[in-house]
Symmetry: C2
Subunit: 217 residues, 2 copies
DNA sequence: GTCTATATTTTGATAGAC
DNA sequence: GTCTATCAAAATATAGAC
């Protein structure tokens, strides 16, 4: 029973492999975060993981494959999701937690995971360079983020809380841009920049309290 | 008279040197813009400039020295400055061209110089990585940009045109962040993102017409 | 100022034993 | 699955002729 179980994912003959992969991705994540993709070497990642270069390459056939594994790893990343629950008091009729409050809470929580911010800040900019293996990933990611936030701002507008003259799609692209830009500044000067505050200030400009000054229909 | 003129800067024995340096920086600028710093090689830059690697290294002793030369080259960059003059009609009593109009005009003009945007987008993110030679440069650059825009927003507030509740320093950091972030999105999707429009939309939220709704004293 | 030639490291990748 | 050994290519940098 313990030999040749092709469907085994979490245990069995592939258990060690899965654990190794996780371990390698952990170290790659750390190194890509602090040095970027190009300047990171597989040798060093392997060394940090306590294995040989060849062993690493047995699990990830190429450097590019490892990068993609790191980028998609974030789906596992917990944290930052529960932190928003605290501010759920002013939840409106629709969502348990208003998306803007959730966004600010996530930005605040991210500051406690500097690696994650650095990873995306560094790689998303690197990804725009010629032939970078992460290009497609970030292209899709931006599309997805903009689409998601556009829908959120449209919902806000339906609730009559979007400031007059604000275009949901424009606000979506802007909030993504502001978020990423302020995080980069934060990486340079963590003691002077507060990403969550900047996001909060922007959202306060765009979203008005339900029965307040000019909001679109 | 043509031998050993130590003070000669623009001509004389150093004329060729200056011309070569300019030529090398041109190619390095192009390559750093499209590939980033790490992935660019001195050999290729030299090749693009039509000279040997050793010749390049005779003019720039190290790759880092070349990077700094490229980063500081932008001071020579013309363009984008005059484009703002068109909108000078609604110039107020203080400046010939309102700073926000100038900012939007520059963003629009920048779209015609993709290399410049790419250079700063890619390198400013790369610069946050460990031991990157451009780190100090960008640290100072962000400080300078924030300080400059903070002063501008304070001036706007003195004119009673700053929306109530807006903090000049926060707005300064935010506008820098928004600008840089939206430019990165533009690099990924030039046909869908319009950096100048996003900047304009943000400034319209922050700056109100002189005798309008709630503005700070 | 410009070149050829070379030194020294480091890279990602492969071969093959165990 | 993990290792040692090696490869082939590319990097920055240096030495020295002209």
């Amino acid at each position: 029973m313990d030999t040749d179980s092709p469907a085994g994912r979490a245990r069995g003959p592939y258990a060690k492999s899965a654990e190794r992969r996780r371990q390698i991705v952990d170290e790659a994540y750390r190194m890509f975060s602090t040095r970027g993709y190009q300047a990171s070497s597989l040798r060093e990642i392997a060394g940090a993981a306590g294995i040989s270069l060849s062993n690493l390459q047995h699990h990830f056939a190429s450097k590019e494959e490892l990068l993609l594994a790191v980028l998609e790893r974030r789906d596992e990343t917990p944290a930052a999701e529960t932190a928003a629950a605290d501010t759920a008091e002013n939840a409106d009729e629709n969502a348990a937690v208003p998306f803007d409050a959730a966004m600010v809470a996530r930005a605040a929580a991210n500051e406690r995971i500097p690696g994650l911010i650095a990873l995306y800040s560094v790689l998303s900019a690197e990804g725009v360079t010629d032939g970078h293996p992460g290009r497609e990933f970030f292209l899709r990611r931006y599309d997805s983020l903009r689409a998601g936030y556009t829908a959120e701002f449209e919902e806000v507008r339906r609730q009559g809380r979007l400031r007059s003259g604000v275009d949901p799609a424009m606000a979506a692209a802007s909030v993504v841009a502001l978020w990423e830009g302020i995080q980069l500044q934060w990486l340079y000067a963590p003691d002077r920049i507060h990403a969550a505050d900047a996001l909060r200030a922007y959202l306060d400009l765009v979203i008005v309290s339900a029965d307040d000054e000019g909001a679109d229909a």
